[in-house]
């Protein structure tokens, strides 16, 4: 006889203004199990879970607990049923302390702080969380902030924990600790739904797997004995051609294009860039690996000129550009694809042609006196659209209406043309579906052929390994070492990312 699931979602359909996010989805989760919800970006996993958590309302379908229909119209309803969700973007108040963040919404009337402190500290100790409850959240690193999110859920006595891509911001060692927590939590009779697009993690922790694609659940089975190839097939719908590492060869005598020497940058008394030095050859991809928040963002901005470094030298093609403004660097041929395209690289309400103009509004090529040369601009934009196969009705389409992949392609296309000497890429394929990822990887490889220096920051190790000629690992503003891909493996790079020096790692190997 089939056991009644702890929670069950039946026939869930959810529409947004322009897309069908979930289509007739059935899903169940049992007590004592970890269910991995696997699928690539855009498959509908987050949407489905947000419905379960009451953040979204489904257009059709039902949710049942222990066989009985329940109404979940808000997170409060979900929490009353014992469901808690830890989202990719944390719901924390940076300006408040850990304690204030945890007790928000759980206290009434006068706050008895002594009492609250006691209760919260108990849970911190019980799950061995190692965190100062009086610290301000804005001062915590991302791994610690995630712990606060988890504590919030535990404080509310959650029995079903939904975690949305929790490992994106963790080092391999921190990921292991998280998996330990998940197992011990589940062993106590609770349940966890783990949303991810990373197959390795699925294999590591899940009891059962549900694969989603295009808003539907395409398969559901126990984790035992499943092969990665089968999973990847289901996720994408066809075989993935992997770009293997080792197909890239390093030329012996590459001319140095970018020379970075002793970069230093301090903010709020914290050293963000610490005596950073490296070279990049022409036509070489230098991959920058490391957990987010160790100075990679600032390195990119320092190279681009949008932050002022305290000291150091940046030399591009034998020109000292250390004191050049962003505008001057653009003119010198520096292109930059930032990690937050919405904040830094595009204007959603402007059309594609205008976004192409964005970086080049001072360029005489596009102006007729004070006026914008609209025909020339349109021709140029259409060129980029065709060259990079961007799906859009035309260059007068608002960029905000394009899919994430197409937006990124436009930005990459634009920067690739501007960056005639140096291309800075920060997580160029984050959040994109596999098709777009492959496109952009192909573009990057192509740019190497043209002899440009490419600095690529990424947290996706597979991307780093497959595209880089050399890999530099950053930790707390320093470079822990620069290696060729064949000199590293996952464990080694994990240790480097966690702050172990090259020597320590080498000693560890022996």
């Amino acid at each position: 006889m089939k056991k009644t699931p702890y929670f069950e979602m039946t026939n869930i359909t959810k529409l947004f203004a322009r897309v069908v996010a979930n289509r007739n989805v059935d899903l169940e989760i049992h007590r004592g199990e970890v269910l991995a919800l696997l699928g690539e970006n855009g498959a509908g996993k987050s949407t489905l879970m947000k419905i379960l958590y009451g953040l979204y309302k489904s257009d059709e379908g039902e949710i049942l607990k222990d066989g009985e229909t329940v109404k979940i119209q808000s997170p409060k309803d979900a929490m009353n049923l014992g469901i808690s969700m830890i989202q990719q973007h944390f719901s924390l108040i940076p300006a408040h302390t850990v304690l204030d963040n945890i007790i928000l919404g759980t206290v009434h009337g006068r706050i008895n702080y002594t009492d609250c402190e006691e209760k919260v500290q108990k849970i911190v100790d019980k799950f061995d969380m190692d965190i100062d409850i009086h610290a301000y959240v804005r001062d915590l690193d991302i791994g610690e902030q995630q712990k606060v999110e988890i504590l919030k859920a535990l404080f509310l006595s959650a029995n079903l924990l939904i975690m949305d891509e929790p490992t994106a911001v963790l080092t391999p060692q921190e990921i292991d600790k998280l998996m330990e927590f998940v197992r011990s939590f589940v062993d106590q009779g609770n349940a966890v739904i783990f949303i991810t697009h990373k197959m390795k993690e699925v294999m590591q922790v899940a009891d059962r797997i549900a694969v989603m694609r295009n808003g539907e659940v395409v398969a559901e089975f126990p984790c035992e004995g499943v092969s990665e190839a089968k999973l990847s097939n289901l996720m994408i719908g066809h075989q993935l051609v992997e770009v293997k590492s080792g197909t890239r060869k390093v030329e012996a005598n590459t001319e140095i294009g970018l020379r970075v020497s002793k970069l230093n940058y301090t903010k709020n008394n914290i050293k963000i860039l610490d005596d950073l030095s490296f070279d990049v050859g022409k036509g070489e991809v230098l991959g920058i690996a490391g957990v987010s928040g160790n100075g990679q963002q600032e390195l990119c901005e320092a190279l681009y000129g949008s932050i002022k470094i305290d000291s150091g030298l940046i030399e591009l093609n034998n020109t000292d550009i250390s004191n050049f403004s962003t505008r001057d660097r653009i003119e010198t041929g520096v292109g930059y694809v930032p990690v937050n395209r919405h904040d830094d690289a595009m204007v959603s309400d402007m059309n594609l042609a205008e976004n192409v103009l964005l970086r080049s509004s001072y360029d005489k090529a596009w102006s007729k006196g004070p006026f914008i040369g609209e025909k020339k601009l349109k021709a140029y934009s259409d060129n980029i659209i065709n060259e990079f196969d961007i799906k859009t009705p035309g260059s007068d389409q608002k960029i905000g209406h394009l899919s994430g992949g197409n937006q990124q392609k436009l930005i990459v296309g634009r920067e690739v043309h501007i960056g005639s000497s140096l291309l800075i890429l920060n997580q160029p394929t984050r959040g994109l579906d596999v098709g777009a990822v492959n496109n952009i990887h192909a573009i990057i490889v192509d740019q190497c052929m043209q002899g440009k220096c490419i600095v690529m920051v990424s947290t996706e190790l597979s991307e780093i390994f497959s595209l880089s000629h050399r890999i530099a690992v950053m930790y707390k503003g320093q470079i822990m070492g620069i290696y060729r891909p064949d000199e590293l493996n996952t464990e080694k790079i994990g240790l480097l990312m966690a702050g172990y020096s090259g020597d320590e790692v080498a000693a560890h190997e022996k």
Binding site: S91, N101, L104, R110, I111
Partner: protein, 305 residues
């Protein structure tokens, strides 16, 4: 003489105190009450009309509160439920209220031959405390709205830091999504603070007409609602900052009146003193370098899905 000056400082600070504390709560939840000038004005009008027609100051204050509440409710509806722009909505309401008050004066009273007046609120001396030399004359010989403001300050500061409501309000302006996810209704929080600002702003407005001047004129508020708005800002969004800010501006105003009565027009033109509070705001706005602006101030909360 100094005593009377300082006493006047307290008097003039009162409406700014009440208004700016209300604004602090509202802005901490993410709402800029840009209709504050209109709320003050309609409070002044309602207070006057209520007092004049009933003969009782208390009814005046009550009517003032109701009038302020109505304007705040319209503002809340458009900015919270309909998620429209706060500056724009506030401006529309301010224009409407300006016209409304003058119009309704005509409706109620026609065109009077002599200006209508009421007896301004009496200064009440509190026994025992009022006898303390110096402080007693300054703090404890004020009208009842001022005494209300003392109570308000204490309650406001306590609630802000020591209660669930205070924590919720402070969190809402920083990250309404976090508050939503914690199971609290963000709209409800914002409605509460905005409507309260309507009530309190109404009292502040009434202070000018029935607590101080004894009459209603179209220009009675003359930008002081905006000064309360500015004080919230300059006080770094803390109730204690609002108190200090209000005292500073009350002092500037009192000083202006003092010099005007001295008739030193020869040395300083009167216009300088009239402009003093506004100049002060500009200088302080520039001087203050770092702010604890609530992260989501002015941004409507849009729930997805």
């Amino acid at each position: 003489m100094l005593i009377s000056l300082l006493s006047r400082v307290i008097t003039l600070s009162t409406p700014l105190m009440i208004g700016s504390i209300a604004e602090v709560y509202a802005e901490r939840s993410g709402m800029m009450v840009t209709a504050i000038e209109g709320i003050f004005l309609i409070g002044a009008w309602g207070g006057f009309v209520g007092y004049y027609l009933s003969g009782q100051a208390l009814y005046g204050i009550l009517i003032a509160m109701i009038c302020g509440l109505i304007i705040a409710a319209i503002y809340a509806l458009i900015t919270i439920n309909l998620r429209q722009h706060q500056v724009v909505t506030g401006t529309a309401l301010n224009i409407l209220v300006a016209g409304l008050c003058a119009f309704l004066q005509r409706v109620f009273f026609g065109i009077p031959t002599t200006p209508l007046t009421v007896e301004p609120l009496q200064k009440i001396r509190i026994p025992v405390l009022g006898s303390i030399p110096g402080i007693g004359d300054i703090l404890f010989k004020q009208n009842m709205i001022t005494y209300f403001s003392y109570l308000l300050i204490i309650v406001a500061i306590y609630v802000f830091y020591n209660t669930s409501f205070g924590l919720t309000v402070r969190s809402t302006g920083e990250n309404p999504e976090a508050v939503d996810v914690a199971g609290i209704n963000v709209s409800k929080v914002r409605y509460t603070v905005v409507l309260t600002a309507g009530l309190l702003g109404g009292i502040s407005g009434a202070f000018y007409s029935i607590g101080y001047l004894g009459m209603f004129t179209d220009n009675i508020i003359g930008g002081r609602g905006w000064i309360a708005f500015a004080i919230c800002f300059l006080g770094n969004w803390k109730p204690s900052g609002a108190v200090v800010g209000s005292l500073v501006f009350g002092f500037a105003e009192a000083l202006g009146i003092y010099f005007q009565t001295l008739g030193t027009n020869a040395f300083f033109p009167t216009e300088l003193f009239i402009a003093l509070p506004y100049l002060l705001t500009i200088i302080l706005t520039v001087a203050r370098r770092s702010f604890n602006t609530p992260a989501k101030l002015g941004i409507p909360y849009v729930k997805e899905g």
